[in-house]
């Protein structure tokens, strides 16, 4: 049985279709991503999965149950990391974990050692007695993530988990999430960072304006919608657009951005050499592998992070 089955899932706010009829399934133990720019409807979809936002139409099953009619039961096996931290500012760090566990109806005999273990996991052991307001943004984020694990969830919903974390903390978190995944936890991650999606997700859907525009593994999406390599050329902002027609012959596809021109090609170095042979000398050039960013650009004509 899939962990999540969404069919024609829709959420409307007034005139706006925040989530506009999306279909997806998530298998147990899978690490599934919702990738899309701000406003794509990722958080709204996450809230509907947790049953804390009522859908406008469509069907949704989480572990075989409708979160709208069995919210408490569905959430008992869910861990939720919301996009914006909502720690309890009136409680200290460790008490945040304990009280949260109490909301699940768990006994203190289980919660005390579990809270200590999670503080260790979040590297916050020495902050246990600190008021939440005195923690840095990164610490709050880690505490929120630790809190989501208090009930040993089988499904973890992470809404932009690494927003506000420094690069080192991000990598540590990714590592922790990998380890959770190894223990069989299903991860559902939203992000607008393509590197995060590539790192964390076995499979993902690309969302834009409430719709799913593509689905697949990071590698297959890149294969399907982009070339192996990308040649980035800068000729100076006024010349970039003017040169597009002349560059067209050197690549499978071209994207002209305000600050640079992207040439999609199987072999970037070879294209660069050909461009130079044609007498064009870019101010800077860079050859890199295609990423999900390129997939997104191809699908929507826009960048993921604006």
């Amino acid at each position: 049985m899939p962990v999540i089955e969404a069919h024609a899932l829709t959420k409307t706010y007034g005139e706006l279709n925040a989530v506009d009829g999306i279909d997806f399934e998530v298998a147990p133990g899978e690490s599934f991503g919702l990738l899309g720019p701000n406003g794509a409807g990722k958080s709204t979809a996450m809230r509907m999965i947790g049953g804390t936002s009522l859908r406008t139409s469509g069907t949704l099953l989480v572990n075989g149950l409708d979160p709208e009619t069995h919210g408490p039961e569905v959430r008992a096996s869910l861990g939720v990391v919301p996009q914006t931290d909502n720690l309890d500012p009136e409680l200290k760090a460790r008490d945040n974990l304990l009280m949260y566990g109490r909301y699940f109806g768990l006994p203190y005999s289980y919660l005390r050692p579990k809270a200590d273990e999670l503080l260790e996991f979040a590297q916050l052991t020495d902050k246990a007695a600190e008021k939440v307001d005195n923690l840095s943004g990164g610490m709050k984020r880690r505490l929120t993530i630790a809190r989501s694990l208090i009930n040993d969830p089988s499904v973890l919903l992470l809404d932009e988990p690494t927003t506000g974390l420094d690069p080192q903390a991000r990598h540590i978190l990714w590592d922790r999430l990998f380890r959770l995944k190894e223990t069989g936890v299903t991860l559902i991650v939203t992000t607008h960072f393509m590197d995060e999606a590539e790192q964390l997700c076995d499979r993902l859907v690309v969302m834009d304006h409430g719709r799913i525009v593509a689905e697949g593994s990071p590698a297959s999406l890149i294969r399907q919608y982009s070339t192996r390599e990308v040649l980035e050329l800068r000729f100076g902002s006024e010349r970039n657009a003017a040169l597009v027609d002349r560059l067209r012959g050197f690549a499978t596809r071209i994207e002209a951005l305000p600050d640079r021109v992207l040439l999609y090609a199987e072999d970037g170095e070879e294209s660069l050499a050909a461009v130079r042979r044609d007498g064009l000398e870019p101010v800077t050039s860079l050859v890199r592998r295609s990423s999900l960013e390129d997939v997104f650009l191809r699908l929507t004509g826009r960048s993921l992070v604006e």
Binding site: G51, R55, E68, A76, P82, N86, E90, R102, Y103, G105
Partner: protein, 275 residues
Amino acid sequence: MSATTVRPVGGGVRGWFAANSSGNVRAVVERGFRVVGSQNWAIIVSGFFEPVLYLLSMGYGVGALVGDVTGPGGHPITYAAFIAPALLATSAMNGALYDSTWNVFFKLRFAKLYQGMLATSLGPLDVAAGEIFMALFRGLLYAIGFTAVIAALGLATSWWALAMIPVALLIALGFASLGMAVTSYFTTFQQMDWINIVLLPMFLFSATLFPISAFPEAVQWFIMALPLWHGVELMRQLSVGHFEASTAVHLTYFVALSVLGIAFTTRRLRSLFLR
């Protein structure tokens, strides 16, 4: 509010509970007690002193001017003894409404406390019931405190005055349940101000500071439809241990208000907490 059509949840009463509750109200109450110490003491203390200050200034200040007034059953009582029970009823109302409207609105929209709670196996019913319980608990402390002040000043002349404490809770329950339902319709702080626009005149005209006979009959009928008047009259009768047929009417009014308020809040629960 939101355009979401709230689908009926299946399976009758049991289905409704499965959708809205894990039966763990206790955890919400536990959190409430845990944070009592870190709450805004200025608000808590002022909630207790406000009626005391009214009683001292109006009761004895204005009381010196007006002398005795007609109390329940036509017996003369001092002006302070006349307004003291009314102030208790008003403070029960104000406390309950503050907790169920402003406090709920703030925790919902700004502190995001309920979002955190509702991401667990708690349901909206658990959160609402826990918060109303905490509001009643605070109301209980105020009621005990103010009743003690009334007794110490010699303004209560019957043991029945002790019954003002549970009745204060009943008044608080009626207003808290109604207040929470009404809050579900609000989206901005500006709209919340309407609550005060309703409350202040209700306080001033519900026979709190002078008898209802001061008004023309048509106005009297209007006032007698308002909840606070029933609370005030009920408290006043208890304070001197005078009962008549109207006592039962006042009591019934508040039992009915509580039942309707709870039913109303229950209906609005999902609109309030799940958006």
